[in-house]
């Protein structure tokens, strides 16, 4: 059972303790978690619980005090950036694109880890770029400047760049923040389809209902530790929501899908009174 589980897990942290500096207190405390292969796992928890920190630690942007991160069983520490980029792609929470960069250029930069020093993209790379643009619904827009795009288009442009990296594991830090509801659904639906093409996706999400609607599995964090993990329907319960988010929730199923609402009706809460 234990071995079978490990087989299905591609990315895992083992007793990971991380802080943002030698003097600040750790954000993650001996955190052990494993992400299942070819599944869309949502990382949820209140602000400051360590969701983004976990992704940054996996990417090696923060050096852990203790513990390690493994990919397919092998430790990631010391792996050259180019090799890591061919295996894990990462989309930060805030993305900056200078003026005058076109979508096509952005996507081409995504394939950087596969190019030779003086070479550029191969024919296969170019086909991959077109497929990535088609996947996010921006095909034929390669010559449009990213700064001229709408918020939803821009977020899909960053996703296309991540797809152009052609890594099997994809980490997304709040990919639907600041987006209209329609685009939140669209992008999460898109992210979910990626798992059917062999991608393993880990995404930080804020909204429990979006999580319930789209994610295969959930990892719930609080104060840098895992409170619950597992398939979405099993992990998200009244009990775990209370422990993680500190409010009484009504969690129920409707047409086979999970819904999570505050238990108190508006006006009945003691904070409002």
């Amino acid at each position: 059972m234990e071995i079978g589980k490990r087989d299905r897990c591609v990315l895992a942290s083992h007793d990971l303790t991380v802080s943002y500096g030698p003097d600040s207190r750790p954000v993650l405390h001996a955190l052990s978690v494993a992400f299942a292969r070819e599944r869309f796992t949502a990382l949820v928890g209140p602000n400051g619980c360590g969701k983004s920190t976990l992704l940054k630690a996996i990417m090696g942007f923060l050096k852990p005090w203790a513990g390690r991160v493994t990919l397919d069983g092998a430790p990631l520490v010391g792996m050259p950036r180019r090799e890591l980029a061919r295996r894990i792609a990462y989309l930060p929470q805030e993305n900056f694109c200078p003026d005058h960069i076109r979508l096509g250029e952005l996507v081409e930069l995504g394939g950087y880890a596969r190019y030779a020093m003086f070479g550029g993209p191969s024919d296969a790379d170019r086909r991959l770029f077109e497929a990535a643009l088609a996947t996010v619904g921006l095909d034929g827009m390669g010559s449009v400047r990213v700064s001229a795009m709408s918020g939803g288009q821009r977020q899909r442009a960053w996703l296309a760049m991540v797809l152009a990296q052609d890594a099997d594991t994809i980490l997304l830090d709040e990919p639907v923040n600041h987006l209209d509801l329609k685009y939140q659904y669209q992008i999460l639906d898109l992210v979910h389809t990626l798992t059917r093409r062999g991608k393993t996706v880990v995404a930080v999400l804020h909204d429990l209902n979006l999580t319930a609607a789209f994610a295969d599995a959930v990892v719930m964090l609080k104060d840098g530790a895992v409170v619950a993990e597992g398939p979405t329907a099993e992990a998200v319960t009244t009990e775990t929501v209370r422990r993680v988010f500190d409010f009484e929730a009504d969690v129920f199923e409707r047409d086979g899908r999970l819904v999570c609402l505050p238990l108190n009706r508006p006006g009945a809460s003691d904070i409002a009174a």
């Binding site: 940054k56 990417m59 090696g60 942007f61 050259p80 950036r81 180019r82 890591l84 980029a85 061919r86 894990i88 792609a89 990462y90 930060p92 805030e94 993305n95 900056f96 694109c97 200078p98 003026d99 005058h100 960069i101 076109r102 250029e105 930069l109 995504g110 950087y112 880890a113 190019y115 020093m117 003086f118 700064s147 760049m161 990296q165």
Partner: protein
């Protein structure tokens, strides 16, 4: 992409026209056919040929070298600092190099061939001190990078005034450097070009090779690293290349300012912010701008001949004011997220 190739061809045409005009026009106008003859079949008895080969051609080559190096350096600095006012002249590189060249001659009596090393050391120190002062004055709480520009401006004034003080203190030596200090593209510095051109060429080559990872770094350190870039190494190597090549330009003909500030702004709307396309365009257009500035300096106020550096300062001051207005005072202040 084909549109950019077309634009690039246009840029090369501008450069060729600027070069022909620079060689042909002056106190005596030399016909284009003579320019061709002077290069393929030099006639030592022809006054025109002599002027061309020993005065105007070296002068034009210095102008093209300075223009290409400073424009590419400015483009890289503006991209990496995300600051539209960044350029070798504004971030302390030019003034640091100037001070070290003057000091190395006055105190150590370094021969010209070694002044390039002094310039590079000064450029590195000037740039490093600019970054340090900006850091100390709170760059992290300054999203528009104003402290970087201000510390660069203050340190540039400091280094330039120290260099001026050294010059004033040694009347016997200052005549040699009086013209040089104000950015003087002149054939008398041809030997310096032959000494130091390779420093600039090497710097440009490094920037061109790093074009793609550098573009990724402009998207953000984490984004670049996750795409496979060794951010620290690429950034340091590129900044080193900028400092070395800009310092070499200063070692040749003194601090010619503003070309590194202006040209990237002209290039960007046409060739984009990706360095793969924009660096060659910056090199070509920077060379053309310096050729035209040199031509204007020689002919606009004839019979008086201005220094090209003075000409660039006149033009650059205006452009600087426009960018400040757009970036720091404009309602939108776009692109500074």
């Amino acid at each position: 992409m084909s549109q950019r190739s077309f634009l690039m061809a246009g840029g090369l045409c501008v450069l060729l026209v600027a070069l022909a005009a620079n060689l042909s026009l002056g106190s005596t106008d030399i016909p284009l056919s003579s320019i061709f003859d002077a290069v393929v079949a030099f006639d030592g008895d022809s006054y025109d040929h002599f002027i061309l080969l020993y005065q105007r051609l070296p002068r034009a080559m210095i102008a093209m070298f300075v223009g290409a190096v400073m424009a590419c350096g400015g483009a890289v600095l503006q991209g990496l600092t995300r600051n539209p006012l960044a350029s070798p002249a504004i971030l302390g590189i030019s003034s640091g190099a100037t001070l070290f060249v003057i000091a190395s001659v006055f105190f150590l009596a370094l021969p010209p061939a070694w002044q390039g090393a002094a310039a590079v050391a000064g450029g590195l120190l000037g740039f490093a001190s600019c970054l340090l002062v900006a850091r100390l004055t709170g760059m992290s709480r300054d999203p528009r990078g104003l402290s970087l520009i201000l510390s660069g401006a203050v340190l540039s004034m400091l280094y330039t005034s120290i260099a001026n003080a050294l010059m004033l203190a040694s009347p016997s030596q200052r005549t040699d450097f009086l013209s040089w200090m104000s950015g003087n593209i002149n054939h008398v510095y041809a030997d310096r070009l032959y000494d130091f051109w390779w420093l600039g060429a090497a710097g440009l080559a490094v920037m061109f090779v790093l074009a793609r990872p550098l573009t990724l770094v402009t998207l953000g350190r984490d984004k670049a690293a996750s795409a496979g870039v060794d951010v620290r190494r690429v950034t340091l190597t590129a900044l080193g290349a900028v400092v070395v090549s800009a310092s070499a330009a200063v070692a040749i003909c003194g601090p010619v300012g503003f070309v590194g500030l202006i040209v990237p702004h002209v290039v960007r709307p046409f060739f984009g912010a990706g360095f793969g396309a924009s660096l060659p365009a910056n090199a070509v257009l920077g060379a053309a701008v310096c050729l035209l500035a040199d031509l204007a300096a020689r002919t606009a106020f004839a019979p008086y001949v201005l220094h090209t550096g003075v000409m660039m300062d006149l033009l650059g001051g205006l452009v600087f004011a426009v960018i400040v207005k757009r970036t720091y005072l404009g309602a939108g202040a776009r692109g500074m997220a």
